[in-house]
Symmetry: C2
Subunit: 346 residues, 2 copies
C-alpha cells in the first residue's frame, strides 16, 4: 500500500501556514478593515457600545484528546466555549484571534480540519477570524482563542448582580457533558452496553457544546430584569459559588428541579452512578445560569416559549452569603461555602 503524502509543518513553513490560514478565513468580516497578513487586525468599533474580550485555551491531553475528538470538532468547540463566555455577558460576538502551539510533525491536514471547524462556526455566529499567531510547540499541541464582542452600553450581565429573593434559572440540562467525557475516557472494552443514541447524545454534548447566545440575546432585548448571569463551565455548585461570592449572597437549590436529560438518566441508571454528583459538580455544561426578580417570572416564561430554549427554575437567592444549600425533597442535602466541581489544578 502506498502511503499518502501528508505534509507537516516542516514542509509548509510558517508563512506557508499563514497563507493557508488566510485563505480559510475569508468571508465573514463584519467590521474587519484589515485581517490576517498585517501586524494587527484592524476593525471598526461601534459607537455607544461596550467592547468585551475573553480568552480561553485548550491543551491536548488536558482539555481534549485527538483519539476521541477530530480536529474539526475541536475547532468548533474552541469557538463555542469562548462564545459561551460572551453569552454570559449578554454580548454579541464580533471577531476572534487565535494562537496555536504546534509540534513539528503536526499534520497540516489536521490544521486544515481545525480551521474548517472553526470557520464554519465563525460563519454561523458571524464572527470574523481576524488572525493570530502560530508558534512551534515541541511538547504538545494547544490552542488559545481570544474573542472580542460588543454589548449595549447600558444592558449587559455580570456575576455580581444576584439579589436575595431572586429566582435562579438554568438553561438546557446539566451533567450531560461530564457524563459524555466519562464515556469518552472509558476504554473501549470496558464500557457497558449502551444504546448508541445515549452514547451519541452525551458525548456530543461534551465534544460540541452549543453556546446559548440566542437565549442571552433574547434576554438583552427583553425588559426582564436579569440579576446575575454566568455560564456553567466548572460545574453548577462551583459556578453558582462564583455568583454568590461576587454578589455577596447565598443560594438554595432544589435538587429535583435541576433539569436532567433522558440519556443522562438512562446512563447513570445503567452504570449505577449517583446522578446528583454529576448535576452539581459536572463541568463544561456551557449552559447559562441567571437570576431574575420573582415578579418577572411570567415575562420570562413567555420569552422562553417564544425563544424555544428550555429554561428551568432551580432555586432562590438567599441573603446570607455563608449559605449554599441544596434541598432534596425539602431536606438539606449538603451545605458548603464553595462548590465541588472541577478545580483544574488539583
Amino acid at each position: 500500500v502506498r502511503k499518502k503524502f501528508q505534509p507537516t509543518l516542516s514542509h509548509l513553513g510558517e508563512f506557508g501556514l499563514i497563507d493557508r490560514i488566510r485563505k480559510r478565513c475569508r468571508g465573514v468580516d463584519a467590521k474587519l478593515i484589515e485581517g490576517i497578513g498585517d501586524d494587527c487586525a484592524v476593525y471598526s468599533a461601534s459607537k455607544n457600545r461596550n467592547q468585551v474580550i475573553t480568552t480561553d485555551a485548550l491543551v491536548e491531553g488536558v482539555h481534549f484528546d485527538f483519539r476521541t475528538q477530530s480536529a474539526e470538532s475541536l475547532g468548533r468547540k474552541a469557538l463555542a466555549v469562548n462564545l459561551s463566555d460572551l453569552a454570559a455577558m449578554g454580548a454579541e460576538p464580533r471577531l476572534a484571534v487565535l494562537a496555536l502551539g504546534l509540534p513539528s510533525g503536526f499534520p497540516v491536514e489536521r490544521i486544515d480540519a481545525l480551521y474548517r471547524g472553526l470557520s464554519a462556526r465563525c460563519r454561523q455566529y458571524r464572527v470574523a477570524l481576524a488572525g493570530g499567531d502560530t508558534v512551534r510547540s515541541p511538547r504538545g499541541f494547544w490552542i488559545a482563542l481570544t474573542l472580542v464582542g460588543e454589548t449595549r452600553k447600558n444592558r449587559w450581565f455580570r456575576r455580581s448582580g444576584a439579589r436575595p429573593g431572586q429566582v435562579i434559572w438554568v438553561s438546557g440540562t446539566l451533567g450531560d457533558s461530564a457524563l459524555g467525557l466519562r464515556i469518552l475516557s472509558t476504554p473501549a472494552g470496558k464500557s457497558p452496553d449502551l444504546p448508541e443514541r445515549v452514547r451519541r447524545y452525551l458525548t456530543g454534548r461534551h465534544l460540541e457544546p452549543e453556546p446559548r447566545l440566542a437565549l442571552s440575546q433574547a434576554l438583552v432585548r427583553s425588559t426582564i430584569r436579569v440579576g446575575a448571569m454566568i455560564d456553567l463551565s466548572d460545574g453548577l455548585l462551583q459556578d453558582l459559588g462564583h455568583v454568590c461570592r461576587a454578589s455577596g449572597v447565598g443560594a438554595r437549590l432544589q435538587l429535583e428541579r435541576i433539569p436532567v436529560s433522558q440519556p443522562a438518566e438512562k446512563f447513570s441508571l445503567v452504570n449505577n452512578l449517583r446522578l446528583q454528583d454529576w448535576l452539581l459538580g459536572g463541568g463544561e455544561d456551557y449552559e447559562l445560569l441567571f437570576t431574575t426578580p420573582r415578579e418577572d417570572v411570567k415575562k420570562l416564561k413567555r420569552l422562553i416559549a417564544r425563544a424555544g430554549v428550555p429554561v428551568t427554575e432551580i432555586g432562590t437567592v438567599l441573603p446570607d452569603p455563608k449559605v449554599l444549600e441544596v434541598l432534596h425533597r425539602g431536606r438539606p442535602l449538603r451545605q458548603r461555602k464553595s462548590g465541588g466541581g472541577f478545580d483544574h489544578f488539583r
Copy 2:
C-alpha cells in the same frame, strides 16, 4: 539546610491563582469597566477610532529559556513584542488578555514574577491587563498574549503602502538581538572573552526589546506621508519581503547604511562573524521599518531630532516586485525574491 517552601499550582488551585493575578492587575484601567473576575472583560471603546488586535505566543524552549531569562523579564518581553506589532500599525495600546499554559509543578513565585514584569510594562505603556485564562499544560510552559489598541480612523500604517521611489527607513540598530541570543545560547565555558558591557548590551537587546511606540506615535501626529510600516521580528530581508509582497514592489538596500551598534561590531569582530548575515537575517530586532516619499525626508529628519529616536535611511523602493537587492559599495551582494531570516518551523 532547610529548604524554603515554594508553593506550586497544586497548592494554590485555579481560583487561588486567579485571585492572586487579580490583585496584581489593579491600577491601570484606562477604559476598563469590568476586569478579571467575570466571564469577559468589558471596556469602553472610543468613537471615531479603529480598534486593532494582535496576538503573540511564547513557548518555553522555543522562544525563551528560564535558564537565561527570569520570569519577570519574560513578562516584560511578552508585552513588548505585542506592543511592537501595535507600533507598526500606528496604534496606541489599550488592553491585554493573557492565556497561560502552566505545568503542574510550576512555582507560584515564578508566576508572581511574570506578572510583576508584565504589570510594570502595562503601567509604563498604560495598558489595562483585562484578564485571561490559566490552563494546565503538562508538557511545558507557554504564554499567549492578546493586545487590543486603537488607531485614528484615517491615520494608521500597513504593510501594503510602499510605492516606487520611496525611501526605506529603520529605527535603532539591527542584529543586536540575534547576536545577544547567540551569546545566551553559547555554553558558559565556550564563550570568548567579552567585555561585560558588550555582553550586557547585546543580551539585553534580545531579552528586553523596547517597542518603538514613541516613534510610531510621533509619525501618526506628524504630516509625514508614511507609505508602509512593519516591525522587524523575522529579520530585515524577511520582513522587507513581506512589505514588498503586500505592496507589489521591490527594494534596494545599501548594506553599509544599515545601522550597527558598537557592541555588535565589537562582538562580530572578536568572534569572526560575518556581520552582514546578522544585519540582514537576524530576528527579533523589534525596530520599525517604514517608507516615506523622498520629499518628506526633511520633515522626517526634524521629527527624528525632536523625538530623539535614531532612524536611518537604508534604501529605496523599486517598481519591479521581483527585485530585492542589497548593494555593498555599489555592487549587488545578493538578490532574492524572499528574504533569509528566521522561518520558525524549519
